[in-house]
Amino acid sequence: MKHLFNFLIFPGFLFTATVGLVASWIDRKVTARVQWRVGPPWYQPFIDLVKLSIKEITVPKDASKPVFFMAPLIGLSAVILSSTFLWLANIELGVSGFTGDLIVILYLLTIPSIMLILGASASGNPLAAVGASREIKLLLAYELPFVFALMVPIIKSNGLLKLQDLIIFQAANGAFVSNISGFLAMIVAIFCMQAKLGLVPFDMAEAETEIMAGVYIEYSGMLLAILKLTKIMAMVALPLFLSTAFWGGFSILKYVALLVIIILMRNTNPRVRIDQALRFFWKKMTFVAVIAVLLAILGM
């Protein structure tokens, strides 16, 4: 019963969704102000979801229906589960979690992208297929440096694989980001977070102007609302994960700082091509991440 409450209401679905809706409003408002516009009112993301959920769900004739319907639901439940784990690790010190939950969360945060690929491929639309292929390439691109970057906290803490142990270790020995290796790893992880969220420099999978929302193109109504909600909740879960793994646990100030970095990066960059993104992640970011791992092994 307590687990169900945790999953559905307090740190899980309802709470994370509320925080995410506020965060996405801040994102849209700041974007508008940067472009010298006024921007939407505070309830806009919420009312968008309400409107989408009362609309008709259209299903393409060529679609594989079970996959088309199940993919958004599985993606949403994965992101709810990971955010529940992350909040509990930060709130209930010394009680929740298990050895290896860092790795579990790493996998859970990949599931929304994979489900998006499956759902887009199941819809039978050529533009969705282009979007899915771009999403696959992007997934391959950012997972490699992201895993390397996450090896740094594990090496520096002598092999702790539990989020709470990492928080306690950082409370005793200082946050990893204050060392040079942790700092480099954090920079790599921030770029990977931007790509995982599918925001502007790396939004080629849903490029509105070239492939008409790409992976989302055939989704409408409630299913589109679920996909939007997944993205909004990932905007809470990923900064939370980064501040837990590198920055000594959650605080509102750290979350706002990471959100500001996301919004500024999104507003000051054009969309890159998929080959540029692949080159950026596999050459530059992986290089920096490997240097960070080597420095961590040397103890710096």
Partner: protein, 142 residues
Amino acid sequence: MNLKLKALTKSLWVYHLCVGGSCNNCDIEILDLLTPRFDIERFGMMLVGSVKHADAILVTGSLTLKSLERVKTVYEQAAKPCVVIAIGACACGQGIFANGPNTPNPVDSVLPIDIYIPGCPPKPEAMILGIVKLIGKLTGKK
């Protein structure tokens, strides 16, 4: 006003459909609505790329024979409830192409149009006024 109607009118995502023969001037004026001077995102309106996400279809241009079937398909694919707005002289009547051999059908012979915004091209202020009138029509208020 109930929540459903409020949600629909406060978050109107528009899809931009140019039906064949057109000089694209109305399309450029529609893009003006997104600029800082007018900024329709403050009313919750967004331009979307796929008709399946749209709540309103903005039709511009005069309907050619080639695009007739495609326009029908696009409207059938839209997720209902979905309103149709005709923008510009060509889409409202047939404009300068009224006697053209390739554009024999007016747009409203194919699509159920909810509001007409005339002009060649209509000013952005006129489009905003048109959408205000449309929302008044949907909610039943003057």
